[in-house]
Assembly symmetry: C2
Homo-oligomer: 306 residues x 2
């Protein structure tokens, strides 16, 4: 495999098993496209899928899955804690090896054209693939969610990057882009006061003086009787997981609130975990290739290439 | 590769670069034997090598390396902080996949016979391969080190398992065996009082009521002006790294001493690190195959098998 990418499509369905299985089927059966992980969340009502493999194989499989999602999800009756504007809400492409960020941007643009032509769902481009600077940020594109965007899409500021200025009547719009590897990291707090999670999330965000590479929202987890700071770490190399967790603990202490548990949602690169292990265990000079499996498979890969 | 083992030969040379390179050469060039890692320690005066691969390839390469070590290391002039009885001090075999512990014991026994015939170095069997129950424990075999064993070897209690009751005149004896994966984990303490490290090490050991799967000694690191609790975790699944580290912190606090840093020496299975990460970061239900590289390479391996 000379070019390897990751792709994490997010579908707005986390409750109906039959629909989720139908969406996953084409992602499991395509040669060259590896389904790393898929996790549904009932509170978020969302299915997050991690794929890795060849760009062509992944694009083909994701298009098939998106057709199924479009035909089975109606955003007009969809409810969930996670913001969304589409049945297929976001499709990010991430370089892993043998491919540059620039090539992933080109891939996102050509896939977006093909996607609109095949599915009739308008497309916004975000992050590195954004065509307008403000659309680098997903939250700008998703402002007001599906319910507001239905009307706001007529406003020239909110026209899609591809497609007519109207949403698909049931599937909304899709945000497609290219970005660095994103770690989804949630921290649950021992309180039912959602304002505490919201306040902490606000202090973590760049827009209010927090970390440059953390996106955070505060949510109530009503089933669990907890609140959650739900985060995307968009550059785990510059903003390590442990640093974010420790700041959340410090902020929560202001209200006498403690961490109940955390969640790594979906896939995580080994480097992100090892960096935080090294911090907590004070491991000096710990190297990724001291991990047996990573080193052995790297050596076996090299031998096969030779 | 249908049978995969790990082998971690320890050589009593951590200072002379040319000798270490000569020892490593046959371990690098043998097809089917992968050199995962090698680390020399000047204070210990010891070279620890991690190999993984096919049993036959590893045995062949280790025998060649041992011949070179025998011819270049003279224990009569060797000094180092780490206990040892041989130029090639220990050779443990560890099952990784497709091979049972029982088969690794058989492998150790047949390799031991061949080793004595080829090198004229007497052999003791330890851990799972021990022929006498007390020899399961390496410290029993190594009691008094090379300097005492030279005379004590005549005592029937200390006769080698293979070979005449006399040590090789320069290379001593070698301890060969089969065991679970061993994590070498050192904790450095902010003090120059070696008695503190020794006391903590004593409390960690099974023989004085500590953990059943931890071997620990206390050492002075004179170059660094610190002391070290140097450990082998012989069953990281039952005695997790974080649990050992936290107990050391608690014991050290008795003297107002803190941890300066820790060291993972050589290779570590991903599961050992991930277990401790999950503890410190309070990650609920974290799975090994959420780590991108581990999952992807597993899927690629399955595809190749198919």
């Amino acid at each position: 495999m000379s070019q390897l990418i990751e792709c994490v499509p997010n579908f707005s369905e986390g409750r109906r098993q039959d629909v989720m299985e139908a969406i996953l089927a084409p992602l499991k059966s395509k040669k060259g496209c590896y389904l790393l992980d898929s996790r549904a969340d009932v509170d978020h009502n969302r299915l997050v899928v991690s794929l890795a493999g060849r760009p062509d194989a992944i694009c083909d499989a994701v298009l098939k899955a998106a057709k199924i999602a479009r035909d089975h999800i109606d955003l007009n009756v969809h409810h969930g804690a996670h913001p969304r504007i589409g049945a297929i809400d976001v499709i990010p492409f991430t370089p892993i090896s043998g491919i540059s960020m620039e090539k992933c941007v080109e891939l996102a643009h050509s896939f977006g054209e093909h996607y609109y032509n095949e599915l009739d769902i308008p497309v916004y481009f975000y992050e590195e693939a954004a065509l307008k600077p403000e659309r680098r940020r997903l939250e700008v594109i998703r402002k007001g969610q599906y319910e507001s965007l239905k009307a706001d899409v007529k406003n020239p500021d909110r026209h899609p990057d591809i497609g007519k200025p109207e949403l698909h009547p049931t599937a909304g719009a899709t945000v497609i882009g290219a970005r660095k590897f994103l770690v989804a990291f949630n921290v649950n707090l021992n309180t039912t006061d959602v304002e505490i999670a919201k306040s902490i999330a606000r202090h973590l965000r760049a827009s209010s003086g927090g970390f440059t590479s953390v996106k955070a929202i505060g949510l109530a987890l009503e089933e669990k009787g907890l609140v959650q700071v739900s985060m995307n770490l968009v550059d785990y190399e510059s903003t390590a997981m442990y640093r974010v967790l420790e700041l959340i603990k410090a902020e929560a202490a202001r209200w006498g609130v403690t961490v109940n548990g955390t969640e790594v949602y979906g896939m995580v690169p080994s480097a992100a975990i090892l960096e935080s292990s090294a911090y907590y265990m004070q491991i000096d000079d710990f190297k990724r290739d001291q991990v047996l499996e990573i080193k052995l498979l790297e050596l076996m890969g090299k031998e096969e290439d030779a």
